[in-house]
């Protein structure tokens, strides 16, 4: 079971203060003297970190007329959400947002479904090629997507479909193409993480079921999967963000501008709004907001997902 456990040194521990050398060890006793320098550094860094996003918010909230009158670098004039409304309607953001949903939701469901099946098969059942396949799955996720671009594009172009299904007569310009490739590309990572999680579950869990005569499917669906809920929640959150933030596959496969998801549509912001930076800023914020909302609501799962993926190496 060597691969299940994190490295021996990684025992649980908390409050691992990174060594104020006085070793005050004061928990919640307020900052000690030698923390002052750290605070100054962190405040400066945090301020720098906030500037680009803060500037975007600031610009997006100012009407263009006020910016023209007072200049970009001024506090004059009013602040409102008019740019958001205008960008939303003029930029067709409702359509982009719906496209993002149409791509993200099926992809994440398929990824969790396929990856959990595969993870179960390689971690809870012993057979000849399970490690080989797991390596193949893990490696696939690490490839740069551009490596697969030309063959996938041509494969989808050559695959003829009736026009009732696809108005391009093939798989290009369809959501299916993006969903399929997003799913294939992300299965590897999720399989890897879930298989580690499942390996750490006690073998006795499924032994009892075996005695009762439960088949493989029941062991997977009724015993292991419910126990994986925390990992599934973490992976689900992470994948929603990953797929939502995916820029490349829609860029490659989708030609009609009105079928692009939000993230890929940002590529057209400047073309749409020319040098109206207030509208561009509002458009950028509209695209950022779904990710930021997910972060606020599901921060714990998202961070858990990232660290689950890195707990081994």
């Amino acid at each position: 079971m060597s691969i299940i456990k994190p490295a021996p040194a990684a025992a649980r521990g908390h409050d691992v203060a990174a060594a104020p050398r006085t070793g005050t060890g004061g928990k919640r006793r307020g900052p000690a003297k030698n923390h002052l320098g750290i605070h100054i550094f962190l405040i400066v860094m945090a301020a720098m970190w906030l500037v680009p996003l803060g500037w975007t918010v600031f610009t997006s909230l100012r009407p263009k007329a006020d910016t023209d009158k007072y200049g970009y670098f001024s506090l004059g004039g009013s602040f409102n959400f008019d740019n958001f409304v205008e960008a939303w309607t003029r930029g067709g953001f409702a359509q982009y947002a719906w496209n993002s949903v149409l791509i993200t939701v099926p992809s994440v469901i398929l990824i969790l479904f396929f990856a959990s099946m595969m993870a179960f098969a390689v971690s809870r059942v012993s057979w000849k090629f399970n490690v080989t396949l797991l390596i193949m799955f893990t490696a696939g996720n690490l490839l740069p997507p551009q490596v697969l671009a030309a063959p996938l594009f041509q494969m989808f172009k050559q695959l003829e479909l009736p026009y009732s299904i696809s108005d391009s007569g093939n798989l290009l310009n369809t959501y299916i193409s993006v969903i399929a490739v997003d799913t294939a590309f992300q299965i590897g990572f999720v399989t890897f993480v879930l298989s580690n999680y499942m390996k750490a579950l006690s073998p006795e869990l499924t032994e009892a079921a075996l005695v009762d005569g439960a088949g493989i499917w029941r062991q997977y669906w009724e015993i292991i999967l419910p126990l994986c809920r925390p990992a599934l929640a973490a992976m689900g959150t992470l994948e929603v963000i990953f797929i939502y933030n995916d820029f490349f596959w829609p860029l490659l496969f989708i030609q009609s501008g009105d079928r692009l998801p939000l993230t890929t549509a940002v590529n057209n912001l400047q073309g749409q709004f020319l040098s109206d930076y207030n509208l561009i800023a509002a458009g950028a914020m509209i695209t950022a907001i779904p990710a930021l909302i997910i972060y606020l609501l599901l921060q714990r799962h998202f961070v858990a997902g990232l660290t689950l993926g890195s707990s081994k190496g």
Binding site: A10, A115, T206
Partner: protein, 317 residues
């Protein structure tokens, strides 16, 4: 684990040794179910990831305009010769990819580690700082390109204003000027990468056994010695992940330069050149594929490194 049946052997015990106490074999139906559970994901993975990878390699030795399959002509190594000798953006792109890696490895990653070390102490407001540094990680690199464009603009960008150059002839178009735009893009990429590294190292630091630190301090090690001789080596699994992420991110860098100017004029990257050769008029699939193969071969270095670390123990068992 001796009592576990071969169908439920958790972990890697049973992979190489025949388990002594076989309770029962898989039933016929279970084999079908298992075949489905393994077969469908594997088929998806093969058809949409691995076969295209092999086809990329095959296409890199051909000449093709991307129209009809019958137009594919063998070209030997001509595409590679063309890229290395006669394709002007290639060597700048290689340089930029190397620069990307060096910048992330020497600046963005250490910065993330430093933030993690500082925030791991009992300081007031650590959660707020963490949230601030982590926010960019939620955003796509494409969106980060747009956000920083607003910050970097020649006339309306905040940076030129802060530098006092806005509206003067000295104002710099940070993303447009080919002598500085790679650095401007790297700063924007760092904005995201450092937060990512920070969150992984924060988890890594939480996992270090506190008695290690105490022991080092009793032995008279100072904070810096304790960190570099004891804590940092103890985080080896995280270090491996960070190395791999840093290398892979610098090879995958694409979105941000594509949003800025499609990876031209000072922002050439191998990944962007692949796409420039595949889309638009005058498709040169062979050249694009050869560039993709070059990218693939370089990527195999970190991928193999990672796989050997992640799965090395399995194979020995």
């Amino acid at each position: 684990m001796s009592t576990s049946s071969d169908t439920t052997t958790a972990g890697d015990r049973g992979t190489t040794r025949a388990p002594a106490g076989r309770v029962r074999r898989l039933s016929g139906r279970d084999k079908w179910v298992l075949g489905f559970m393994v077969g469908v994901p594997t088929l998806i993975q093969l058809v949409l990831v691995w076969i295209p990878t092999l086809l990329s390699a095959a296409l890199s030795f051909t000449r093709w305009n991307g129209l009809s399959l019958t137009d594919i002509k063998s070209a030997g190594a001509a595409n590679y010769q063309f890229i290395v000798n006669d394709y002007p953006p290639f060597w700048p792109a290689v340089q930029h990819n190397v620069l990307w890696l060096v910048f992330l490895a020497l600046i963005a990653t250490p910065l993330g580690l430093l933030l993690a070390i500082l925030l791991d102490q009992n300081i007031r407001g650590t959660k707020i700082y963490q949230s601030i540094f982590f926010t960019p990680v939620m955003l796509s690199l494409a969106l980060i390109g747009v956000i920083w464009q607003l910050f970097y603009n020649r006339d309306s960008g905040l940076l030129n204003f802060l530098l006092g150059t806005a509206g003067t002839p000295q104002a710099v178009d940070w993303f447009g000027d080919s002598s500085v735009n790679i650095w401007a893009a790297l700063v924007a990429a760092t904005w995201r990468h450092a937060g990512y590294v920070m969150i992984l190292y924060l988890a890594g630091l939480k996992g270090v056994d506190p008695t290690l630190r105490e022991a080092a301090q009793i032995d008279g090690a100072n904070a810096v010695q304790t960190f570099f001789r004891v804590i940092f080596p103890a985080m080896r699994p995280v270090n491996v992940i960070i190395i791999v992420i840093t290398v892979i991110e610098s090879l995958r860098a694409f979105d941000i330069v594509y949003v800025i100017n499609r990876g031209t004029n000072g922002l050439e990257l191998i990944s962007a050149l692949v796409i420039q050769n595949l889309v638009g008029e005058g498709q040169v699939i062979g050249v694009g594929s050869a560039l993709a193969v070059i990218l693939l071969v370089i990527s195999l270095v970190p991928i193999t490194f990672y796989l050997s670390r992640a799965f090395g123990k399995d194979k020995e068992a």
